[in-house]
Symmetry: C2
Subunit: 220 residues, 2 copies
C-alpha cells in the first residue's frame, strides 16, 4: 500500500520506471501480482518494469518473513523493540539494485515508500538511514548530478497515507500488505493491523478481502 | 588478488566467513573456482562460505564486464575517466549482502579488498564511499555496536598489495584478476596490466598463466 501511494505521488512529477524485488518472503507471489496490476494501472511498459529476485536474503536468514521456522507474531498494542519480521538490511539491498538501474536509466529520482513513525520500527525505515544512503550515492556512482532518494511517506501516518492515496486516485484495491497469506489477508499480523487501523482512522473501508478482523481495540 | 590479500590480513585477527558474489561477469566460473580454492587454503568450513548470484546486475546492464555487446578495451597508458568495465553501483550491492549476512552472524568487521589509488577509478572504490556506507550501517541495522567496514588495501599500490600478500603467505597463485578469460589470463585487459605491473614492480613473477604479455612500457 505504501509503495502504491508512493507510485501515485511519483507519477505526478515523473515518467515511471518500477522495480519489484522478491526477497524470498512468504507472500512473494501475491506481492508480484500486486506489482504487475499496479504497473498495468499506471500504463508502465514492460521495458520500464524490473522484477528482481534476491532470494539469497532468505538463505542468509534472520527473519520470520523469510524463514518459515520462525513464527510471525500477531500484532500487539504495544510494540517491543524490533520485531522478528525485520529482514537484516533488506532496504539497503533493494536501494542498491534501484540505484544500479537508475544509473543505467539516467533517472533523476528514486522513490521509496518507507514510513518511519507509524511503522514497525525497522532501522532501515528511518529517515537518517535514507540520508546516509543519499551520501553513498553521491560518493559511489558516476553521476554528475546525483540521483535523489525521495521518501515522501517517511513522516506520514498510515491514515495520512491512505487519505493521500485516495486523493490521488491510487489503486489501493490492487495493493497487498499481509505478511502471512496470499488469498485473503490474515487480518492479524502487524502489517494487516497497521493497514486496517489506518483505514479505520481515515474513515473508509479497506477494499481488499480479509480472512478475519483483529480485536476492535487494536484498531483504535 | 586484492580479495586474496585482504583475506590473509583478516585471518590475522578474525575467524573468517567468506562471501563470494557472482554478478553475471564474463569470468564468473573462474572467479568462483578461485574463491573455493582460497577458502580451502584457509580451511573455511562450508557453513562459513556464502556464494550468491546477483546476475540481475547483468540484466540491468551498463557495463562491458556483464554485457558481451560492449567491448572490454585493452589497458592504456593514460586512463580517461571511468572505464566501461564499471558496473553501476556494484560494490554497494555486494556490501549490502555482506552486511545482511554479517548482521545474522553477529560479525565484528566486514573486510573489502577495494583499492582507491592504483585502480581503474571506479567511484565505488573510493574511501569516501566506504565512509558513507559505514554511516548507512550505523543507521540501518539493529546492531548495538555496529559492524565496522575495513578496507586495508584502500591506499596501497598494487606493488604494496603483492608485497604484503607475499609476507603473509597469501595464496596468490589461486587468485584470478583477468576480466576476459578463464583458462589463461589475457594479459592485456586493464586488470591484467595493473596486476602484472604490480608484480614487476615488486620484483617477482606472477604465478598464474598468461596467454600473452602486454608491451613492456605498460608494465613500467
Amino acid at each position: 500500500m505504501d509503495s502504491c501511494v508512493t507510485i501515485a505521488m511519483a507519477a505526478e512529477e515523473f515518467e515511471l520506471a518500477l522495480l519489484h524485488v522478491n526477497y524470498g518472503q512468504r507472500t512473494q507471489t501475491r506481492e508480484l501480482m500486486a506489482f504487475e496490476n499496479i504497473a498495468d494501472f499506471y500504463g508502465v511498459p514492460a521495458s520500464r518494469r524490473m522484477v528482481i529476485s534476491i532470494e539469497h536474503l532468505a538463505r542468509i536468514g534472520g527473519s520470520s518473513l523469510t524463514d518459515t521456522h520462525l513464527e510471525i507474531h500477531d500484532a500487539e498494542r504495544e510494540s517491543r523493540g524490533i520485531p522478528n519480521t525485520y529482514v537484516p538490511f533488506r532496504n539497503a539491498n533493494m536501494l542498491s539494485i534501484g540505484v544500479s538501474w537508475a544509473e543505467v536509466l539516467g533517472a533523476e529520482a528514486l522513490f521509496v515508500g518507507a514510513v518511519e513513525e507509524d511503522s514497525s520500527g525497522y532501522p532501515d525505515c528511518r529517515e537518517t538511514f535514507y540520508d546516509a544512503f543519499q551520501r553513498v550515492i553521491e560518493t559511489g556512482t558516476k553521476y554528475e548530478h546525483p540521483l535523489r532518494i525521495r521518501t515522501p511517506l517517511i513522516h506520514l501516518s498510515k491514515e495520512e497515507i491512505i487519505r493521500r492515496g485516495l486523493e490521488l486516485g491510487a489503486p489501493l484495491q490492487l495493493s497487498w500488505s499481509c505478511y502471512k497469506s496470499e488469498e485473503r489477508a490474515c487480518g492479524v499480523c502487524e502489517s494487516c493491523v497497521l493497514r486496517l487501523r489506518g483505514f479505520r482512522r481515515a474513515g473508509t473501508e479497506d477494499p481488499i478481502p480479509y480472512e478475519r478482523y483483529p480485536d476492535d481495540d487494536l484498531l483504535r
